[in-house]
Symmetry: C2
Subunit: 201 residues, 2 copies
């Protein structure tokens, strides 16, 4: 035998070492050589651990997502009412803390739209399922607690998609600059409509 490295750990190390340059320049504007240089390894070594730039992105997203999930979970536990919970959930699209993950998410979505690959789609589906299950639980709890009308169930998917749509618009156009305000207004207005005692804005 010879030197045995922890491949899993080294993957993580390389990903974290290239984190700054990726977030700064964007994965599509970086060459493999530049990434390898930033990570302090040879170009050949890069290919020992990742088969493409996209795979590096997977690794980075997984690392940052883990931290993000813990943050969200902690905040959700302290939240009382449904609108508040939904806002915590949607925080991802505008708050400072999620900035890095959000930036990666943008690259991710862009790649998926441009060159659909099975692996990419599978990973996105996994992430989607994870967060959607979470979101459904929030809505269900709201209904059970009598905060929301049961009809809300028919809209869960759409509500989940709305913030994403607004985010994409704000990223690809010059409109929708104050995303936080837009989303909060939407949540409040919709929740008022869906509340069991019909208040209105």
């Amino acid at each position: 035998m010879a030197i045995i490295v922890d491949k899993t750990q080294k993957r993580r190390d390389i990903a974290l070492a290239s984190r700054d340059i990726i977030l700064d320049k964007g994965i599509q504007n970086l060459t493999i050589s530049a990434i390898a240089r930033a990570a302090g390894i040879g170009k050949g070594t890069f290919y020992e651990y990742f088969k493409s730039k996209e795979e590096l992105l997977f690794e980075l997203v997984e690392i940052l997502m883990h931290a993000h999930n813990a943050r969200i979970e902690a905040r959700l536990e302290q939240a009382e009412h449904t609108p508040e919970k939904i806002k915590i959930f949607a925080d991802f699209f505008y708050d400072e803390e999620s900035g890095e993950l959000r930036e990666l998410y943008k690259m991710f979505t862009g790649i998926s739209l441009l060159s659909p690959q099975e692996e990419m789609k599978a990973f996105q589906t996994e992430c989607f399922d994870y967060y959607y299950a979470w979101f459904e639980k929030i809505i269900e709890a709201g209904i059970e607690r009598g905060e929301l009308k049961p009809v809300t169930r028919q809209m869960t998917g759409a509500i989940f998609a709305t913030a994403k749509g607004m985010f994409i618009i704000s990223e690809t156009t010059e409109r929708n600059r104050d995303l936080k305000h837009e989303i909060h207004t939407y949540v409040d207005t919709l929740m008022a409509l869906l509340a069991c005692e019909g208040e209105e804005a």
Copy 2:
């Protein structure tokens, strides 16, 4: 003087000649040489008319969008009620007729997310403004005709974004396969909530 070519017309011709191959392979998987070959011109000539593949995409989108707008406009004139109008509007994301434009729109959005360029953003903003103004008019008409509560105004942007979000999810994951049904259910449920005589689903 010598040969005088209608530059504008030739741009259109090249765009249309490369239409099939672009829709088939996707712009990111095509080389400039392949595009030029498909359009029956030399590579150098391509650069006489477009400074990049992205510019070719602009041209194609503009051509297809023109036809699409005419189709939508005609259908909107025949529509009576607000939910019906909104569905016609959202048809873009799933109907057969819009398939080619939708495919280009995907590429477009992907490029915007991956390498934000000023020109790209300006063009997307222009398209957004055009359709959003249209959408706002539908909502306003619904309110004026007493079909919708005035509070709908606060949600116009969000409703507009929802179908887009659902579309992105359906394209980047393996979920949300029956987009038409999902969107129709959403529109019907939301419209019922926003109707002045409070029916419910």
